[in-house]
Symmetry: C2
Subunit: 432 residues, 2 copies
């Protein structure tokens, strides 16, 4: 935890959205979670302890229900004139805030990486290379000497896009007070930003998007799915094939399936593929590869829907080992006859479980992820996605030799990988 | 860490030992480590930051070498009159100490549990049920209202034995000052204790022993070995057979072998036992069981010799899996002919690795030991020590049926155990 993270966040949620239906935009769900749940949960996770939500009379009861349902430590401030510019909403939070605080818009979806990095910034967080937001609709800023010089939707020259995320301190209320007097309480945030000549922190290309229309919602969902890939342990096939497909599936299922459902479906398909070895090797291999692709979906959905659980990850990885074990055991049973080849199949099965054992046992011993701690591990061949893809290839036109060659290859690759892993861990052990 | 642990420890090491040879007693090694290395290392691990060693002119250079060799944050105070009582040695530390501090004797060997608990106490730490020390030779204390009333080697009535470990504060120096004047600097610690009417904290039956003679040294070694068993993951056979033998072996090897040497020896024996399945099943089974007993020795030696390493534990557990895998694979190869039985052997091998995988994966996910977190896990049958013992029994009079029965039994026990583990983890998951 950084010691500098402000303890309070002010959320502007008074605007009367029109293009998204009756619901306040902060309570519209993306991938099963309200936009504000995402923002508040991530802010809390990164050290924010208290929230001030400025909203209007009509939305207040809905926000109360939301806050209480999730147990967020939040207060609500009513803006009785929501039709006025949202600078006034900020001003209404004045009495509840002191020192440094976060200011954030209720209709922006932020990814975890954005929140984590933005909290280390200062002033207006601006993005010079927005990757997900619609730049046409966005508020642009022109920056000079690290401070805002101009701001607006239709600036001719601009340097970056306003992300709706600010780190301010109570000094900002001097500016709002002046504007209250001059404009009779009707002025937008951009006016406050310009008048305060806010400091600008650039944060480029990280996941954030403002949601104005149903099509923005879809883009938000896609953003969340694409940034939900954990990936440190992904092999070559996973990076170049499986993840491309699995994230598309996760995108389609983001609102429709739970991670647990996908774990079950993937496991059942894997077990079916194992039994298919008794009937058709090519079909078995193809279904095995399909289950390998689907195997990414439960984890992706869990991260996208903010429903990750240690138990979910635990069960998922036990089931993966059993699918692999069952596939190799039944493949051996249906194709091999000689004891020597069974011996090789036994070693292939042993190696295949040991690949996972050697990285999980590392985490148990050292308390950190093997792939992050020892990047060289990522380059070793023989990860699950690669083994399964190889298995599928060898089973496409199966002859006796090809199945035997597969077992021999698996026995060598996997056990060699374990030896190499142990060697790399030993080499790095002093620094871990 | 407890916030109350004193930052400074005074070590009395001025006494001119005679029965243990030329070396100062604090530098005599037990199981490969100087007595004082053990005490200082454990105190450091539990929060002590600074040491004051009071010794004599002759020993000072040896203690300097020791301190510098290990990089301990220690100062040395010379007692020019070591022949006088050791109360004077404590008095000499006066200028270097303020507030609370630990006082400890250089010729006592303490186990980790003792040090951890003693640091939470106050005054004199006394043991009502000394398990390792020679009570005949020990200093006894009589306690009244929680304070020392009498102290000496030959008290008629006594409540507990002085462990040589004290938690004092600077007030104690008022007592030593008075005694300096009255006794011309010649008074033992027991005099200080009595005069101060020290508070007494009882700590019963934990590992500590004072070392006066070579036979005390042997008892110290035995104490360290017997208390070095980690054991949370030990199965029935391990608790009732393997550990009894392995600690005897560790006792014999404590000064003669390193943990790494024992890891290699155990692995090689295990691999030989696996290949023996090709020649003699009873011999293979017996050697496998012997390697299972020896498997405890490397960990015991590592703890006794204070040479535990995460990498050592990591490699040891990979090698165990490979010994088990090789044994089952070669046993299957040398005895089975029908594919169906190979299928069962494949499932037995899978289950056997998965038993370990399911607990190590737990630690990786939850960051704590599975057996400590979920005690019910300890009661599930199917741990390695039990499987190996069972294997040996089935191979003593091997007929075709008995080997098949063994594989079937292993396949069922191990995989059932994994299912039960997952179920228990799921049940407890919310509280973990």
């Amino acid at each position: 935890m950084m010691p500098m993270v402000p303890k309070t966040a002010v959320i502007l949620a008074a605007g009367l959205g029109t293009r998204m239906g009756e619901k306040p935009k902060g309570l519209v769900k993306v991938a099963g979670r309200e936009i504000l749940y995402r923002t508040m949960h991530l802010l809390q996770k990164n050290g924010v302890k208290r929230f001030i939500i400025v909203t209007n009379d009509r939305y207040a009861p809905l926000y109360w229900e939301f806050i209480e349902g999730h147990g967020f430590p939040a207060e609500i401030v009513i803006n009785p004139e929501p039709e006025k510019g949202n600078g006034h909403s900020l001003h209404l939070a004045k009495a509840r805030v002191s020192g440094k605080f976060v200011l954030v818009m209720s209709d922006h979806v932020y990814g975890e990486e954005f929140i984590r990095e933005a909290l280390r910034g200062n002033g207006l967080i601006a993005d010079r290379k927005p990757r997900w937001a619609d730049v046409g609709e966005a508020t642009k800023v022109r920056v000079r000497n690290g401070r805002v010089e101009g701001i607006g939707k239709s600036l001719d020259e601009w340097d970056a896009v306003d992300t709706g995320f600010f780190l301010l301190d109570e000094g900002i209320f001097k500016v709002t007070e002046a504007l209250e007097r001059e404009r009779e309480g009707d002025y937008p945030m951009s006016e406050v930003v310009k008048r305060a000549k806010l400091e600008v922190t650039f944060l480029d290309g990280l996941p954030w998007i403002d949601v104005d229309t149903p099509s923005d919602l879809k883009r938000a969902r896609r953003m969340l799915v694409k940034t939900a890939v954990k990936g440190t342990g992904d092999g070559f096939i996973s990076r170049h094939l499986n993840r491309k497909v699995s994230t598309e599936i996760s995108y389609l299922l983001a609102e429709k399936a739970t991670p647990n459902q996908m774990t079950v479906v993937t496991f059942v398909l894997g077990v079916i593929s194992a039994f298919l070895t008794l009937f058709s090797l090519p079909l078995a291999g193809i279904l095995y590869q399909i289950s390998s692709i689907l195997d990414g979906v439960d984890g992706e959905l869990a991260r996208v829907q903010m429903r990750t659980s240690r138990f979910g990850g635990y069960i998922d990885s036990l089931l993966d080992r059993y699918v692999d074990g069952a596939f190799l055991a039944l493949l051996a049973y249906s194709t091999l006859r000689e004891p020597l080849w069974y011996l090789i199949a036994l070693l292939a099965l042993l190696g295949s479980v040991m690949v996972s054992y050697s990285t999980e046992r590392f985490k148990a011993a050292y308390g950190k992820d093997a792939y992050s701690s020892i990047p060289a591990l990522r380059k070793l061949p023989g990860k699950r996605d690669e083994r399964i893809f190889l298995t599928m290839l060898f089973l496409l036109y199966p002859v006796e030799t090809s199945v035997k060659a597969l077992f021999l290859l698996l026995a060598i690759i996997t056990n060699l990988r374990v030896v190499m892993t142990a060697w790399l861990v030993g080499n790095e052990s002093a620094d871990l």
